[in-house]
Amino acid sequence: MYELRFNENDCLSCPTQDCLTKCQYMDIDRDTAKREILKIAHSEDSYVLHDCVTCYACEEYCPAHNHPFYLIAEKQEELDFPPLPRPLIQRGINIGVPFRGEPEINEVEGRVLNMGAFADHMYLIQGKLFESLPVISTDPRKMFHYFCQLMYLHYARTSVIKERLPKIIETIAKHKVTEVIFFHDECYGTYTSYCPAVGIDVPFKPVHFFEFLYNRLNELKNEIKLVDLKVAYQRPCSSRLSSDKLHFVADIFNLIGADYVRREYVDENALCCGGTIQGQRREGSRKRAAEVQKRNIEDMKNAGAEVCVFNCPACYQTLGEMVARNGIRPIFMSDLCRLAIGEQPAGWR
C-alpha cells in the first residue's frame, strides 16, 4: 500500500511552522503550531483536524515540502474526524464511480490534453490554441475513468485516492502518451505532487495547462491583440500543489496586455472559493463560506477588477454567478487567451 512520505524531524527542526501559522482560517502561533502538527503526526487528536477548511494552502506554506495537508487528510480519516458530514463524503465517493462503460482508447504516441473529469467543458478548448492537439477524456459519460481522485482530500478519504488512482494512471497510459497537459490544476497536482508524496509511479510527463497556454500564445504572438482588461485571478486550492507554475498566471496576463490588479488576497494569500467550506460539519460553515466569498469579491472590486479569471470549474460554479452579480465578468483562462488572439470566447458570460 502507498504510504505518505512525511518526515517528523522536518517539523521538529522547522524554524517557522509556516504550515499552520500562515493559515488564513485559523489563528495559530508558532509554539502551538509545532505542538499541534506533532500531535497530528502521532495520530493524536488536534483541534486542527476539526477546524481545517481543507484549502490545501499548507502544502505550499511548508518550507520543507513535508506535505502537512496530505498528513492532515490522512489523519482525519485514520482518527475518524471527517471534515464533512457522512452523506457528503459518501456522495463524493459515489461521484467518481464510472458507470457508462469503458472508455475508447486511442493511441496517441505523444503529447495529449487530458480533460479529466471535465469532459463537459470541451467548449473551453476550442480554436487555434488547441489546433492539432489530441485530447483524451472527451466524453462526459466516460470521464470518471480519467478522474484524478484528488478531490477526496477534501473528504478525508486518501484511501479512496490510493485505491483508485493507479487504475486511472493505467487508463491514461493506455493512450501511449508521453506528455499530458492537464486541463485542471488538481490533476496536475495529483501527478506532480501527490503521487511522488505517496510513492505512486507516473509513467508520463505532466504539463501544467497555463504553461501550455503561455507557450501557445508565444507561438501565436503575432496574432495577439492586447485585451486591456483589469483582471483578478481566482486561485483554486489545488494550485497550491504546483506553486512553481503560478508565475504563468502573471506571465499570461502580461503577454496579452491584461492588467493584473493588485489585491490583498492574491498568490500565497489567495482565498478559497468557499465551495468546500460551506458544506463542512462545523457549526456556522455556510456563513463562514459566505463571509470568505464576500471578502474575496470585495477585494476584487476594491482592486478595480473588471474580470475574474478562473481555471477550476468548481470555483467557477461556486463563485462565477456571485462575481457577475457584483459587476465583475467571470471568464475561464483559456477563453481569455482566445479573446486575446481575436477569437470569440465560448464561455464568456
Binding site: 458530514p85 457522512r86 459518501q90 459515489n94 461521484i95 455556510r286
Partner: protein
Amino acid sequence: MDSVYQALADIVGNEHVSNRPEELYIYSFDLGTTEPHRPDYAVSPRTTEEIQEIVRLANRERIPVVALGGGLSLAGLAVPFKGGILMDLKRMDSILEVNERARYVVVECGVSQGQLTSYLERHYPYLTHSEPGAPPTATIVGNLAIHGQGDLAQPYGFNSDMVNGLEVVLPTGEVCRFGSCSIGNSWFTQHPLPDVGIFLGWLGTTGIITKASLRLFPCKKIRGTGQFVVEDERLVPEVMYKLSHTQMVEDIVAYSQAIPPFASGLQHFTINMAADSEKELEFKQEIVFDDTLGEYIQRGEGGFLGFTRGLQRPQVSKTSDWRKGGGFEYVGSIMPVEKYPECYRRGREISERHDIPYTVLGRCIGAAHAMMFSWTYAFNRADPETIRQAKEALHETDDLALELGGTVWKPGLYGQKLVMERLDPNTLNLMKKIKQLLDPNGIMNPGNWEVG
C-alpha cells in the same frame, strides 16, 4: 366518404380532422408502456362550440371521445382503448385573462405549462404558477384534471386546489361553468358556490374541461434551489416536516436513484426558496439551512450542498431518463410523508428484482400533509423484454402503493381496477350514478374508471 369524417370536417374544417393511418398512429400511444390503440378519427377543435358539436355528434353516433392535452401522463390515460374520436386540444391555446391584483389566470384547455411560464415571465414577472415536473408541453388543464402538483405544492397544495373556476362541455354537449364565473362574475373564486367536484380526477370520463381559472402566486425576484443530503432514509419524513414548519420554502423534493452513482443509496433534497432581496434571502437561508438543518449537519447525518440561484423548470422529469432506449413510466402515489422510508426500500427491491436502476422521488404537498411519491422504471423502447419488465414492476408498485396506505395518482387501467376493488361500495355506487347521469351513452374516454 365516411359520414362521421365529413361531419367532423364540417365542424372543424378539413385541415383539422384526419383518418389517415400515419396520423392515427401518432395518436395511438403515449410514451409509457400501455399497448397502443388507434382512434378512428383525430380532430383538433378551436372553440368550445366546436367541442360541443363534436360531443353531440359522438353521442348521436355512439362513438367514444378521448380528450388529449399534452399526452404526457405516461399511464395511458389518453390512449383511445375503444377507438372513436381522439380530440387533440392543443389548438385551444389562448391565455384569456390575467388578473394581476387578484392573482389568477384564465386559460383555454390547450395552454401548456411552458407557455404560461414564459408568458408570466415576460408580462407579469411578479406572478407565477405551480409548474409540475412534466415537460413544458404538458397542459395546464390536463394537469388539473389528474390532480397534479407543481413546484409550489409545499405551501399551496395540489394544483387542483388552485382552481378558481371551470368551463366544461358535458358528455351530452351542454356547457357548464363552475365558480364565480357561473353567475356572470369574473373568474376569481371557486368558493363558496356549490362545489361540483366531478371533473377533476375523473380522467376525462365526465366531460371535457375547456377553460380554467388558476390561482397565481407571488413570484419573488430571487428564486433558487438549495440541496441537502442524508444517508438514512428514515430521516426524510422529519426533515420534510421541519422544513415545512419554517414556512419559508416553496418546494421540497426528496429523491434517490441508482444512476448517476452520486445519488445511489442517498436521499437528496432539493429545497426551493425565494426572496425579494439579499436580506430576505440570507434570513431565510439562516433559518432553513443553519437553524433547521444545522443539527443534522453537525451530527454528521446531513450535508448542505449549496444554494444555486435561478430555477431550472421543470426539474423533476429531467431525472427520469437514464437508460438506453429512452423510455420510462412511473407509478405516482399520494402517500403520507411518514411512509417515505418504506416506499424507498420496497421500491428499490422491486427495481432490483426487475433489473432496472431504481429511481424514486417524494414531493411534499401542503405543509407535509402528504407527498407525491413516485417509482420510475426505465425501459428501452426498442426492446419488448425491458418493456415487459417495466410493466410488471409498475403493476407490483401499484399494489405496493395501496398496501402502504397510499392512493395511486393518475392510475392506469391496472391501478384504477385496484382502487375500485377497494372503494367504499356506496362511493362506487355514487360514481356509477354520476357517470350514468352525465354520460348515458358511455362515450367519454371509455376503459377508464369503468364503474359499471
